[in-house]
Symmetry: C5
Subunit: 360 residues, 5 copies
């Protein structure tokens, strides 16, 4: 959380439209990959010079330009210039602290969304930013680093599976967004598994660490919700508003995409409710334990305190020689057994009382 603010606030003094990379430190070589296809052919190349992209983009075939890595700002700026992107768009692409949004310009549409990654070790969800720029005949995508989320779509294009080769850049954008939304389902499945593990721990042996884990989970849900909620607005706008470069035929697909996002949101909300319930269960199981402890203490105290008192009585040193009224019991023949008998009787009476109170 704080990290994002640090990065964001360092940039604060710069003029609007300054393209400065804001994000995690990354060192890998930025890869630019181009997929150019139509119904008949499909070219996949990752070693083209940027200059060679222009003619592809101008041709009627659909071109997908994918950039893996945002830390080399010059590449993004070069692409931005080539396709006449607004300086604010370029700034937003390299600023990985964006909130998901859609910006509709006259000659292109700019989308920024968050892609979730599950961190198995920390049981946290990490977010990476994906930007999509949709122009006529070309779709440009920017990722923070290479990921496998888009592989399925790329394969479908290469192998001419489904309708993807028959449709344009709008459908490609939809397919990629759909892959990203699907990655939310994957992450939610992992979160769901973690919730189940915690639930078992909660029932079997709740310890203070459990509480911290539940609170961590709650915070993850807050952050996840923060990414999905604006995604809902983005997909709703895609489906509802009349956006250039998005054809009529894409409309049922975009409605489907929107439905999926709603489902993700529903699931996140349900998880939040479940996690809240877990917190309640933790707290009441804690107070239950306390109850247990109190009962044990009370039973012991209430059992032995009267007995100890009786023993104390007969430990007094009143002089029975000076007076017949002074502790004659001490000289009785059955004095000791009698005293022990009283103690046993008191003890049983107490146990009976606690039993009736259902204390054990």
């Amino acid at each position: 959380m704080l990290e994002f603010l640090k990065q964001r606030s360092e940039k604060a003094s710069l003029p609007p439209g300054s393209a400065v990379y804001v994000g995690k430190e990354r060192a890998h070589v930025v890869e630019v990959r181009i997929l150019d296809y139509n119904r008949e052919k499909c070219n996949d190349s990752s070693d083209l010079e940027l200059a060679e992209v222009q003619p592809l983009a101008d041709s009627p075939s659909t071109t997908w330009l994918n950039v893996d890595g945002l830390h080399e700002v010059s590449i993004v700026e070069q692409i931005g210039k080539m396709f006449a992107l607004h300086p604010l768009t370029i700034e937003d692409i390299v600023n990985t602290t964006q909130r998901p949004k859609i910006d509709i310009f006259d000659d292109y549409v700019y989308l920024v969304v968050k892609m979730p990654l599950y961190n198995d070790e920390l049981n946290t969800v990490e977010m990476e930013q994906v930007s999509l720029v949709l122009k006529e005949n070309i779709l440009i995508t920017f990722q923070e680093r290479k990921s496998s989320v888009f592989d399925g779509v790329r394969k479908r294009v290469s192998n001419n599976k489904g309708r993807i080769r028959k449709m344009g850049g709008d459908y490609l954008a939809y397919a990629l967004l759909d892959a990203i939304v699907d990655s939310y389902f994957n992450v939610l499945e992992r979160v769901g598994e973690y919730i189940e593990t915690l639930e078992v721990e909660l029932v079997d042996n709740p310890i203070p660490t459990t509480l911290h884990k539940i609170h961590g989970l709650k915070r993850e849900m807050i952050l996840l919700r923060k990414s999905v909620w604006p995604l809902r607005e983005v997909t709703s706008s895609l489906q509802r508003d009349e956006i250039p470069f998005i054809s009529e035929g894409a409309s049922p697909f975009l409605k489907d995409l929107y439905d999926h996002v709603i489902q993700v949101l529903d699931t996140v909300e349900t998880f939040r409710d479940i996690v809240s319930g877990m917190l309640d269960i933790y707290l009441s199981s804690m107070s239950n334990k306390m109850n247990e402890v109190m009962k044990v203490l009370t039973i012991f105290a209430a059992l032995f305190i009267p007995l100890t008192f009786i023993a104390g009585i007969y430990g007094m040193n009143f002089n029975s020689e000076k007076s017949p009224y002074n502790m004659p019991e001490l000289d009785w023949i059955y004095g000791y057994p009698f005293a022990l008998g009283i103690m046993v009787a008191v003890a049983f009476a107490m146990l009976f009382y606690f039993k009736k109170k259902k204390w054990f």
Copy 2:
């Protein structure tokens, strides 16, 4: 919850529009049943070839094609092709993890809703998916498995009861949706009975298991609400939007349907409030018990500790022979009765004090 995510996330890598069965494993033979009726006649048959359905659908009589079972995807695909359904519709029909929704296409309307089933053993509510496709002169319904919810409607058609034979496919769709909404009332009745049982348990003998049951109930309410809330949107859209194939005459019925859904939602919300109240009662009855325990402990301790102290005093071994100031009480004639008398007096003082404090 998790199950749904597992199924959903397995499908994540497939292209949109892939018809893959997502749901519980089922093995029964898929039954296709056709009811073709108008004001005069009514044919009910379950052994028609799919190829024979086409002419029925084309005829002006109303045709109801019901499919019990979604796990044989090929049947659904065949029907889909025959009636020119969009690939996304076919995908949604066989994906039982859908959120209730309405999709309006040019030549048909697609509705998906959830049908609740009460599991008596686990006291949980299970959801099954029902899809309705309304075209001109034909209504196609898809269920996960045979259920008795539609039997009443089928009988009414066969026996020509009420207005159903006089009206078209839109009224039939309404009648089926009404039957589904009625099944929510049935389930809510069962939930209500379970709540009453739990309330008795809560007052008589609240134990930690009660808490877990209440939390389970709360979660059921969350899941139930998740199904009914979008159903409200669906029925609202049915009643409000101008939807093809839905005639003017159906409008009061659809408003009635909408009112029923609102009533279901109201009841679910009321149950949620009641369950929240039960949680509060549980917690305060727990802290009440703790109070009880504390009082017993305090009464015992405060009663006997002073007495034991007095006994301790006279158990001291100061040598009364060496000095007249050393415990002369031990040699008094009425020393022992005097000590016992003090003890009794202290005990009564304590009891009087606790009585005044209304501790018992």
Copy 3:
């Protein structure tokens, strides 16, 4: 709550539009009373045959047909047929589990609202259903049983008090709705008195029963709110929408009615907040009591435990004859007073310490 669901779910298998009485068992004779009036004359009769009503309804004078009792469905059906009501309207009239709503048909308006009755013994609010059907020149009202709420309006018509005789059926409907909303104020006054009683109990002597009463009150508020909230929608629609048979002149009255409903709703919400506050006070007064108990225990224990320890010391049997180091105090002349003195000093020190801690 559950009762309503039982009744509702029994009806589930019937076709829509089936007029079946759903409600409490009632056995009284259904009374049909007719008031026919205009500026000049007013006829009140309760022994007319239903057949004689038709001419009255057709005449330009305003006719008020009031039915006390819904359990004889045939009477309702007869009236429904006579005035051409939609089957769904007839079904809704005899189904007393309706949510307040307004249905606008081409030739009549159908309103259903809830009338509250305060049960003094159980301190609960019971709801009865009132249906109003407004047609040209005639208003038909249906109640579950005879009640005194409409008496005031009837008297005003008979005695020609206020403007009621000068205006039409729409004003009559408004006057009746106003009487019903006024009955909410009556009920809220009773609830308010009960709240005050509980508040006194809460401050004077909060016991577990108090908690159950507060929770009962909270539930009453939830149910009351459930009736008033849709009533708000109904009156808002009456005032806002252009409804047939409601003249321009009624508009300020309907706005006034709406304002009253808002005030009822405001009061219910305020009561909910107050009841929530009472729950908080109960819980903290409970934990306060626990604190008290703990303090008494601690004071007793901390006071006497050190004293008992000192007494224990001088109760040890070290042989002072064998060694001058073995408990020489026992043989001191002022040994016993000295020991008692130490005890008193310790006791005062403890008391001073607790005083400083403001424990008593």
Copy 4:
């Protein structure tokens, strides 16, 4: 709260439009004061007959008719008749339980708002009702009793300060509403001071009375909010809707008024949040105190119980003459110092343990 319901429900049986005074009992003489002014002149008189008002109202100069006291209903009725007010308006003016609202009639605008008064003794906020009727050239205001809130405006008119004499009745109405909203700021300042006092009490010495005071404050906030929230709607409507008799020039002033009401609402909400926070602090400081008490008890018990046990050991009477194994320590030369030494060691060990646990 209840008082209002009692008054309200007594009125329930009366026909709508009955002018009955509903409010606190008041006995003072109702004062009617008239201010008639234009750019040149200003007449202030409080001894005019009502009949003399009519010509003033008809003249183009602005007339302000102020009535202090609503309990003499006949005066209000007389004025109402003179200016052709709707019976419902007259009813609302004398019913002091109104919710703030605006009623727009064809020939006048009726506004009712609440004016707060801070009760220093009870630290509560009392509400008085102010009604404004704005017609062409005349503004009529009704207050429950004479108050000083309008004095500033009257002075400004008399002394021709600011723009007020240059503008019409709409500006006068605005100036009065502004004075009322300013009185909310005054009251909120007092509430703020009381909150600060309570916060000091909360930190220094929280006692059960503090809790009751905080709850009282919370309830005041609920009631205050109930008055301000509809006031927001009223001023929003004034500023937004096209209302007769309100000129274009008043628009920035009305927007300013609206902004002030929003600020009042903001402050009330902030106070509610602060009061909620105080409740949390109270509760946790209570549980903190309990913790303290528990620690003292535990330290005492854990310190002395082992010591008393050791003393108990050497208080046993095993006969050392019969066996060399029976308590030889009693005959040791350093037996007693040895026993005392063990006790001191145990005590220090315990203290060290508690110190390490940071218990004191």
Copy 5:
């Protein structure tokens, strides 16, 4: 909080439109600085007479008039008169208790926003008011005192960096608002750091002061939210409404500004959630500590109470010479070791029991 109300309520008796400084006492000399620029030239001067500003404002070059200090009302009034500002605008400029808002007049736009400053010592956020008046060719800004937030923008204008010199007053206003929104990010970073410090404190050693700090933080979040929420409305209106003097070209920048404000709001909300979570953790760690204390007490008591009882038994004085049944153990050869053995056995049994209960 209260301070604002005190200042606000002092002003209550004044007529609307009175320009009275409402804010912290300030004594510095008010500085008026003028920046006049177009594409070619840029003049920066802080020693111009106000009279000399008029010609600059009338010239087509963009003029930025910045006023640092509002306590000398006469300067503000002079500027207001020169540029024909509405009296309410002048009143709002010098009243530093404004809520952020936008007022659109025919010939200028008035904006008031809050600029946050982090107070390192108290860990609180202080707010200063900034007013912007945008007219044709001139932008006038008013600050409470000199701050460095606008320095970056001023430098960019002077050094002709970015597009700022090429664009008009609307872009300048945007640049300044952007700088203010960036200052929120700076402040949030500081708040974030403070939250992290508190979280460490919360885990390591939560003490009552921690609770007060968390509550203080919560209150800061409430106040921060109160400033940002209306800022959202202001920027939304800037971007959405057609506002004079704001050109088409500024639209993507204003949308960007709006997105940043949403991000600030998101962060504030997330911080609120996190702080709420911290409160929960504090409370449960408190009850955890209590649990610990209880366990120690119970273990000590339950361990030693039975042992002390056994010692008490053998401290009784039954006369073994009078009867063979009276405590024969005392005369056994291994009596003492036997008694000690029983004690050790009981102690181990207890420890084993507690171990099994996982108490330590």
